[in-house]
């Protein structure tokens, strides 16, 4: 019983992490039709922000995470203005541009902070939490934080005028612009929100993961698998897919190891694509 409880707890936290990363990516794709490869690097920048503010400057942890969210959100906004806007909805061009951005950000971080040394971020809440198993508060925080962040995103998209306008322009940009929601404005907003989610994930994971310039790579892979299965642009589907893959990864990691888990995740995605090219949840029923 203890064992199963532990597994559920771990699965919950892995799912939260996947959801936090993938929902932002999915939102950006839904509105802008850009597969942002640099999303993983945005996550990395978020982790570095927390490292600088929390580990080096001794700011409170949640303030550091908040700043990381803002910094990465603004980074997304700037890259939309400078780069992605010029792809003009062309999926291939936007995608290749984001690949270019990946390497610009990686080299920038390597040149500023170096690649060799570890960037240890101490746990802000190292106390042990006993609930269905044992974990540190630091890890557990991920779950309520994700619920709060995704919940407020959900509330924003559903109950605020501008949030609803964003959803409208994801579904039909022309009709939305007739009602005064310019595609540029919605693209900038989506990019800010989506990147901010990546920043939040990076900030929250910084004390748990090792912080280095290439940490985004493993994450973007999983995020891609999740949004393919969930149906890109479909936030609800992405959420379901993150839960499925979070638990799948946890179960396989418990019995075998995490590399096999990655392989199985990819295999599941390929098999699903072979059977249902449109993803687990159909694209239309948003």
């Amino acid at each position: 019983m203890q064992f199963i409880g532990q597994m559920i707890l771990n699965g919950l936290m892995t799912s939260s992490f996947y959801a936090l990363i993938a929902v932002g990516l999915s939102l950006v794709f839904g509105v802008m039709h850009i597969v942002n490869f640099a999303h993983g690097e945005f996550y990395m920048v978020g982790a570095y922000t927390v490292w600088v503010l929390f580990a080096l400057l001794d700011w409170p942890f949640f303030v550091a995470v908040g700043v990381a969210i803002l910094v990465v959100g603004i980074l997304g906004l700037v890259s939309e203005k400078l780069i992605f806007r010029r792809a003009r909805g062309n999926v291939l061009n936007g995608f290749i541009m984001s690949v270019g951005l990946v390497f610009i950000l990686q080299v920038a971080v390597v040149e500023i902070w170096g690649v060799g040394k570890m960037k240890p971020v101490p746990a802000a809440y190292p106390q042990i939490l006993h609930f269905m198993g044992a974990t540190t508060w630091q890890r557990f925080i991920l779950f309520p934080a994700t619920v709060i962040l995704l919940g407020s995103l959900w509330y924003f998209l559903g109950n605020f005028k501008i949030g609803r306008a964003l959803r409208a322009s994801a579904e039909d940009p022309e009709a939305a612009s007739l009602y005064g929601m310019s595609p540029r404005k919605s693209a900038a907003l989506a990019m800010f929100l989506g990147s901010a989610m990546a920043g939040a994930a990076g900030g929250l994971m910084a004390p748990i993961m090792s912080v280095h310039p290439y940490m985004g790579h493993a994450v973007i892979w999983t995020a891609f698998v999740v949004i393919i299965v969930g149906g890109a642009g479909n936030i609800k589907g992405t959420l379901y897919a993150s839960i499925i893959f979070g638990f799948l990864t946890t179960i396989i990691t418990t019995f075998l190891d995490s590399t096999i888990a990655n392989l199985v995740n990819t295999l599941v995605m390929l098999v699903l694509l072979a059977i249902r090219p449109e993803g687990l949840v159909a694209h239309a029923e948003k």
């Binding site: 039709h33 780069i83 995608f95 541009m97 270019g100 990946v102 890109a232 590399t259 098999v271 694509l273």
Partner: protein
């Protein structure tokens, strides 16, 4: 052109010969990538496919002692078969799903080389013996740079001839039709999914050949060589050169490799420079270098094609 390439190794220094050999390997890689892009799919598993060829030849010539002339096509075949396997789930996906799924599939392949130490050697990779062309002949040592250069030259010219033939024949035109007018192709009874699979298989085969040449030149291979930064280089070459003509990718590889050589003192910055080049190319010169002549007003093949589309509308 070929005559110049034959004369070159006797003129330039030893290090440059190595550079030219690598250049030709990259030319095969970029041109084989174009075989796939003509159908409209930009496979991000292409560099891992090159790795598949390299690993296959390393295992075959290292462990089994198979001579080069057999191991090279066999390794290409292995890469082609893996490409075929990946292409099955990808055959109906479009645009974004194609990139993402091919990326994940390629990374999964790379992860296999890291995870399964037997026979792939994990992070350390494998040692590749120098190529055995004819067992027993000692006087021609292909571990030397210049003989290997000529071997690469012969293989490259051969591969390019086949791929050029493919590009102008019926299959090549079908690939292009699938890209530009998928519904028209379907209504004419062309099985587009099958042709896409064919393109990925052929492209992967030649990527495998490039991998064989790379492995025997470097004598050692490891998973990191076939990682995502190599994919970035490939994308930059192809985008910078352009993909509508056969010579576009070749142009891209040659020009950017020379720029890369000039930037050698700043090696750490090269990925960033490439990233900036790719973004600027897409913003200011979306057709790549090959579109430059028609852009500055020299009428070329593109000119009349543009007119036809105007008449159609």
């Amino acid at each position: 052109m070929t005559a110049v390439m034959i004369a070159l190794p006797f003129v330039v220094s030893g290090y440059k010969v190595d550079f030219l050999t690598m250049l030709m390997v990259n030319v095969i890689l970029a041109v084989s990538f174009r075989v796939i892009t003509t159908t409209g799919g930009w496979s991000l598993a292409h560099v891992p496919m090159m790795g598949a060829g390299a690993y296959a030849t390393a295992l075959m010539s290292g462990n089994l002692g198979i001579p080069f002339w057999f191991s090279m096509p066999l390794a290409g075949l292995v890469a082609g078969l893996i490409g075929l396997g990946i292409s099955y789930p990808l055959r109906r996906t479009e645009g974004f799903a194609f990139f993402v799924a091919s990326f994940a599939a390629g990374e999964a392949l790379r992860l296999c080389w890291i995870r399964f130490k037997i026979p792939f050697g994990g992070h350390q990779g494998l040692v590749v013996p120098p190529p055995m062309l004819v067992p027993g002949v000692q006087w021609l040592d292909f571990a030397e740079a210049i003989p290997y250069y000529f071997l690469t030259l012969v293989v490259t010219v051969f591969c390019l001839m086949i791929m050029h033939r493919l590009d102008v024949c019926r299959i090549g035109s079908t690939f292009k039709t699938i890209h530009s007018e998928e519904n028209l192709a379907k209504s004419m009874g062309i099985n587009t999914a099958r042709y896409k699979m064919l393109a990925l298989t052929i492209g992967s085969f030649f990527a495998g050949i490039a991998g064989v040449l790379l492995a025997h030149r470097l004598w050692a291979i490891e998973p990191d060589q076939f990682g995502f930064s190599t994919t970035l280089y490939l994308l930059v070459w192809v985008v910078f050169g352009g993909t509508t003509t056969f010579s576009g990718p070749i142009l891209g590889v040659v020009v950017l490799s020379i720029i890369g050589e000039l930037l050698r003192p700043l090696a750490d910055w090269v990925p960033m420079v490439y990233g900036i080049i790719i973004i600027l190319t897409l913003i200011f010169l979306p057709g790549g270098l090959e579109s430059l002549p028609s852009r500055i007003g020299i009428p070329k093949g593109k000119f009349w094609r543009a007119q036809i589309t105007v008449e159609d509308r």
